[in-house]
């Protein structure tokens, strides 16, 4: 759905429809533009909100294999993810992004899927290391390794390496920042079609 159509849809909302509590920014915009947000305000609001979201990315703290050791190194003081506003959270309900660092086994895949389902929208997934991308060195002969975590979750960023250097982590992180900064309120998850959540429900979850 395009921006103009979305604006039209906002203008013609029936008044008796139950509305969510009005946010201050939206209220301010409504006062300046009859019936809905103006395009100029939308850009300003997008920039403010995307910057805020990109600069306070909270990560779900979990690790699966040796790439998790590298992610600890990135989080520690030498590379210091805190300067990007990144903190590790110990619960998926407070996390924005998930760092799948390591080998995903068939036994662990439903658990990862459940963690992802518990994260609030918008949520992002980064696959770190060759094992999480495609099975890595376990691709040919392993009986227990999922050939790529994108068979379980929708993945936004792939960081290759075995394991990747901390610089690669930060590079993937900046690419995720770019991804977030391209998003618009007009495509917010309240409206359908922001990100196609075509889940790969390949297996029945237990």
């Amino acid at each position: 759905m395009g921006l103009r159509e979305w604006e039209d849809k906002l203008r013609h909302l029936p008044e008796n429809l139950p509305q969510p509590p009005e946010e201050p920014l939206r209220k301010w915009a409504r006062g300046h533009h009859e019936g809905g947000m103006s395009l100029a305000f939308l850009k300003v609001a997008d920039k403010a909100l995307d910057t805020a979201r990109a600069c306070s990315l909270w990560w779900l703290q979990f690790g699966l294999a040796c790439c998790a050791i590298e992610s600890m190194a990135v989080g520690a003081s030498r590379y210091d993810l805190d300067r990007f506003g990144i903190f590790h959270r110990a619960t998926p309900r407070q996390a924005d992004a998930m760092l799948v660092a390591g080998t995903v086994t068939t036994k662990m895949a439903p658990v990862i899927r459940r963690l992802y389902d518990q994260m609030p929208e918008p949520r992002y997934v980064i696959a770190v290391g060759n094992c999480a991308i495609s099975g890595g060195r376990f691709y040919q002969h392993a009986y227990s390794v999922v050939r790529g975590v994108d068979r379980v979750l929708p993945v936004d960023i792939f960081i290759p390496g075995c394991p990747p250097r901390p610089e690669s982590f930060i590079d993937g992180l900046r690419k995720l920042h770019d991804l977030i900064r391209q998003e618009s309120l007009a495509d917010s998850p309240a409206v359908e079609g922001r990100r196609p959540e075509t889940y790969l429900h390949l297996r029945e979850l237990p």
């Binding site: 068939t106 036994k107 495609s134 099975g135 691709y139 050939r147």
Partner: protein
């Protein structure tokens, strides 16, 4: 099981079992040799529990079970018990052979509680049955896993969507529709 007599061919350089050892456990083993100065005993599943119990009662006793694992020898399976002395210098290896299908062994969890997890792993990986095990379920594999992965003749189930091959990785040019262009470029 008792009909088949396990055949063990000692390597020429390994000396036979010493007379002291032969006197101590000779009635409970079917073969024995000395490898790297440490005895290596081969027994049957029927004699296994009696042999291990006697080894625990020696002086000094073999009171540490260091490792327990299965081995696929091709025609038959083998379970290896590595024992150590807590108060002595010696280590010892006990080997038991079982047929590939329907292999049953007595559980040694009553002697060493440590054997609990090791036996669970050997059971799921090689398709063995440890009779008398207190908790006979999978240790590492997910429930419902079909097959015994550490056997040499195990084949991965490629119809499983998690384990299926990835055409983009196996042959990226074909998967992306770039195969023709790539060959054209190489001919030029």
């Amino acid at each position: 099981m008792s009909e088949e007599t396990p055949q063990v061919e000692p390597v020429a350089t390994t000396p036979p079992l010493s007379p002291e050892w032969q006197a101590a456990v000779g009635d409970l083993i079917v073969a024995g040799l000395t490898r790297n100065d440490h005895p290596e005993l081969v027994t049957t599943p029927e004699l296994l529990l009696g042999l291990l119990t006697r080894l625990r009662e020696l002086d000094p006793p073999y009171d540490l079970l260091h490792d327990l694992c299965g081995v696929d020898r091709g025609e038959h399976l083998e379970v290896v018990y590595r024992l150590y002395q807590g108060y002595g210098p010696q280590s010892l290896v006990v080997k038991v052979q079982t047929p590939r299908s329907g292999g049953r062994l007595p559980s040694v969890t009553a002697l060493w509680p440590l054997a609990n997890w090791a036996e669970r792993e050997a059971a799921e990986m090689f398709g063995l049955t440890f009779t008398g095990h207190p908790d006979p379920k999978h240790l590492l594999l997910p429930e419902g896993f079909v097959g015994y992965p550490l056997r040499k003749d195990f084949v991965i189930d490629r119809s499983d969507p998690y384990l299926a091959p990835d055409p983009l990785r196996d042959d990226p040019l074909t998967a992306l529709g770039l195969k023709a262009e790539a060959t054209k470029g190489s001919e030029e």
